[in-house]
């Protein structure tokens, strides 16, 4: 096998870059291919969330907690490179009923190791002086953090290269190469690359790569807009969202959903989310989504009415039907691994995913059980050999 790598990673977004970094640190020979450049897909079209507050109890929360530890401990020395900030999350209740559900939610989260406290109206006003007069109380999550996602992805890739990984941009994978029923490399617009293991880290486009091995990995796009305001002096100090956001995160409704997520940034602009639409890769601007987001944000922070929007962007979040990512070796296509489908939590989950998958690729025991994320949970369809 000429000039083969131990691991070939398809996709230089945050997931692929994180895997590359930890795999290279394990001493594995790593090659990363991307059809464009670093973080050219969803990683550069999101907010950079590292959240515990919005996770349902279960394996995703466990992975979130693990990943937060990786950001804060394993990668502590690089925190400034990607502007890591533990800004804290505030989930605001404006109705008595949501106040009660926040109480129930935080009690359950606390028992699972999430730091969460209830702020009354006056404590909330201390934390966010410009909050709506209608806000009654809030749950405060001091662990909720954020990074600048493009910087995080780009620097992780750069650090991986410093540790020996090779990056090949503008290499679009056209086929997976199989020998004796095993994936042993890829063909691409930049040539053939042999590898011991091939990792599909192509996010929203992961089902295409899986399809080349004739296995089903049902990752689909979920469109979301973010609006960005003019730069202002600091007026919003946390990631602030309304209680209904937590319900929408796990929703599979196909129609437009919108719930307010508002946060200040170190650069002075305020980010306003969020919308969710399942419309494939339709890149058109949905004014209804922008309008709903605008109204929601103004309800939370009335001063925003007069603040100007400079731009908006949208990304296609990769989601699976059961809202869990796909992480691990695909038994249906030996040699092929997946790390995709992290939905709106990809930045937060990336480094945990990277570290765990690197352990698995190196044949080690993983720090956390990856079986809830196993690719073959979707079907038992075996690999049909296409070429020999």
């Amino acid at each position: 096998m000429a000039q083969g790598s131990d691991v070939l990673i398809i996709g230089a977004g945050i997931i692929g870059s994180a895997i590359a970094y930890f795999a290279a640190k394990q001493g594995l020979g790593v090659t990363v291919l991307d059809s464009a450049g670093p973080a050219s897909g969803t990683s550069s079209r999101c907010e950079g969330n590292i959240l515990l507050s919005d996770k349902e109890l279960g394996p995703e929360l466990e992975l979130s907690q693990y990943s937060l530890g990786v950001w804060k401990n394993d990668l502590a020395e690089f925190a400034q490179l990607w502007e890591f900030e533990a800004k804290g999350g505030l989930v605001v209740a404006s109705k008595e009923s949501s106040r009660a559900s926040l109480d129930r939610l935080t009690t359950a989260q606390r028992s699972n190791g999430v730091t969460a406290e209830i702020l009354d109206r006056s404590q909330l006003v201390d934390a966010e002086p410009h909050i709506s007069p209608e806000a009654l109380s809030a749950a405060y999550y001091p662990q909720d953090s954020q990074v600048q996602p493009m910087l995080a992805a780009s620097w992780l890739l750069r650090l991986a290269c410093d540790a020996g990984a090779r990056f090949v941009p503008n290499a679009r994978v056209t086929a997976l190469h199989q020998e004796h029923g095993r994936i042993t490399g890829v063909r691409s617009t930049a040539g053939f690359f042999a590898a011991g293991s091939v990792v599909n880290a192509t996010g929203t486009w992961a089902s295409n790569i899986a399809g080349m091995a004739e296995v089903a990995v049902p990752v689909n796009p979920r469109k979301g807009f973010v609006m960005v305001t003019e730069p202002l002096p600091p007026k919003i100090f946390h990631k602030v969202y309304a209680a209904e956001y937590v319900d929408n995160v796990g929703s599979s409704d196909a129609g437009l959903q919108s719930s307010p997520v508002v946060e200040g940034t170190p650069a002075g602009s305020i980010l306003i989310g969020s919308s969710r639409e399942r419309v494939g890769f339709d890149g058109s601007v949905n004014l209804e989504a922008l309008k709903a987001m605008a109204n929601n944000a103004i309800n939370l922070f009335p001063f925003l009415r007069d603040v100007k929007i400079l731009r908006h962007y949208h990304g296609f979040r990769p989601y699976c039907p059961d809202h869990l990512p796909v992480i691990g070796h695909d038994e249906r296509a030996p040699g092929l691994w997946h790390a995709a489908g992290h939905e709106g939590a990809g930045i937060g989950l990336s480094v945990g995913t990277g570290k765990l998958l690197a352990q698995a690729l190196a044949g080690m025991d993983t720090d956390m059980d990856l079986s809830p994320f196993a690719p073959h949970r979707f079907s038992n369809q075996p690999l049909v050999s296409k070429e020999s």
Partner: protein, 488 residues
């Protein structure tokens, strides 16, 4: 009688006025939207009109060429307003343009200033759209270009033409292209001193292509007038000369200039310092104001001068259904070309959907367009944007003025993080993310990101900088208050 075609025209400069006038002449109902508070655009920018005074008398017409053309277009424009066939929305900007499923056009409007006279937000739907949004001076970063007193050559010109205000008493103009000449001429007429015009080109490019300028004699006469002004006011016109640094503590005080050799490189030892400068006017050609067209995803190409421009057919129709473009957005070429294109676009836009456009209807304009396009090509070839500046940057030279991103930061992102296009540069350094959305730094950031590539990588990078889904900042409250279904 069948219902009138509703044509929306964005821009009331030479192209927009001509489009509106000819669409009216062909029976259309026209809405003209313009950011300024009176018609004329940049080329015919003039003093604030006074109630009761005819437009066009002194001092309105000071320093203007083709003023008669303006007055004639303006007469048609005003007649349309009086007849109720033209709705004029001054002080208004389009923040978003969309095509509906029935291929009609929806525009979201906002006031250009908080003190605007228009309703703050409204939605307009039209059958056809003519985008005539023009261009603004292209800039390349130069050490010290962020000092107060340094501005675009167009700003110097706009202050004089629009308000009779001189931007300074001792002015240096630098860049490339014929536009520096009328600016110098106007400064001199207004009583200011032009200490030097630094033209980076050696002008030999004109000799290679003499046929094109000779076919447009009016340009030659205009040029001769400017040269006469330079001589009369003893303004030094320095060819193959570039501005290498602008000096000052809190505002511009002096500039350094240098001569360049045939390859465009600065000749060592040729540096010269001009002291007691209180204003610098910079202009390296123009950048098209194209984002309302790219919003429709219309086909574009990179013009000879490195500007992204819209592809149009001979009747100014873009690749987008019902979307037309006229004037600088189809290629920088000056006011006479813009008027001809606007006239053609106005004719085409007013045609009913079943009617085929006839060349004979706009034969004169089609000839003008062809001659002036050839002239523009010759001009762009003779006045290429110089390359010296990238090697001339200091690490702390600001490239993105809005977000204060330096050349050093951009080069670090390119070399260490493989941010090899303007989009990646923007995401990693914030260059192009601020108030102007990359209008000023997009060209320079693309040059730096692609290491001076002049081909596909550069063109793609520049094209990305034109993606501005919010084409002008809009208050969140106006988005919140959008009507659910756009009114007709």
């Amino acid at each position: 009688m069948s219902q009138k075609i509703h044509v929306a025209v964005i821009g009331a400069g030479p192209a927009g006025l001509a489009a509106a006038a000819n669409a009216l002449a062909h029976g259309a109902q026209v809405t003209c939207i313009d950011a300024n508070d009176q018609p004329g655009g940049q080329y015919w920018r003039h003093r604030l009109e006074q109630p009761g005074r005819q437009p066009g008398v002194q001092p309105d017409s000071t320093g203007h060429h083709d003023w008669k053309t303006y007055l004639s277009l303006r007469a048609a424009f005003d007649a349309g307003i009086a007849a109720g066939t033209l709705a004029y929305l001054p002080n208004t900007q389009v923040w978003m343009a969309q095509q509906r499923e029935d291929e009609r056009i929806t525009l979201q409007l906002t006031s250009a200033t908080a003190a605007g006279t228009q309703a703050p937000a409204s939605t307009l739907t039209a059958d056809r759209l003519v985008v005539a949004t023009g261009a603004y001076d292209r800039q390349i970063p130069i050490p010290g270009w962020d000092l107060p007193g340094v501005m675009t050559a167009g700003a110097v010109q706009a202050l004089i033409k629009g308000q009779g205000v001189l931007a300074g008493q001792r002015i240096v103009l630098a860049g490339t292209g014929p536009f520096l000449l009328p600016v110098a001429s106007n400064v001199a007429h207004a009583g200011g001193s032009v200490l030097a015009i630094c033209e980076s080109a050696d002008l030999s490019g004109w000799l290679k292509n003499l046929k094109a300028p000779l076919a447009v004699p009016a340009k030659g006469i205009e040029g001769a007038e400017y040269i006469w002004d330079l001589l009369r006011h003893r303004i030094p016109y320095k060819r193959s000369t570039v501005i290498t640094a602008i000096h000052g503590a809190e505002k511009v005080e002096a500039v350094s200039i240098a001569r360049t050799d045939k390859t465009g490189a600065v000749i060592a030892g040729s540096e010269e310092r001009i002291e007691n400068v209180d204003c610098v006017g910079l202009g390296f050609g123009f950048t098209t104001q194209l984002e309302l067209l790219t919003a429709f995803g219309v086909a574009t190409h990179m013009d000879v001068d490195g500007s992204l421009v819209a592809d149009v057919d001979e009747f100014q129709l873009t690749s987008g259904a019902n979307v037309l473009a006229a004037g600088e957005v189809t290629g920088i070429g000056g006011a006479a070309l813009a008027v001809a294109e606007g006239t053609v676009a106005g004719y085409r836009a007013a045609l009913g959907s079943g009617q085929a456009p006839q060349q004979s209807e706009v034969a004169k304009e089609l000839k003008t367009i062809s001659r002036h396009r050839a002239f523009a090509r010759a001009m762009h070839q003779a006045h290429q944007v110089p390359d010296y500046w990238s090697g001339n940057l200091e690490e702390d030279t600001v490239v993105c003025r809005c977000e204060e991103v330096t050349a050093g930061e951009i080069i670090q992102a390119r070399d260490e993080l493989k941010a090899v296009d303007a989009r990646s540069i923007k995401s990693t350094t914030r260059a192009g993310m601020g108030w102007c959305q990359g209008r000023v730094c997009g060209y320079a950031a693309s040059c730096l990101a692609t290491c001076g590539d002049k081909h596909e990588a550069f063109a793609q990078s520049v094209a990305n900088t034109y993606k501005r889904p919010v084409s002008i900042p809009v208050p969140l409250g106006e988005i919140a208050d959008l009507e659910d279904s756009p009114k007709e």
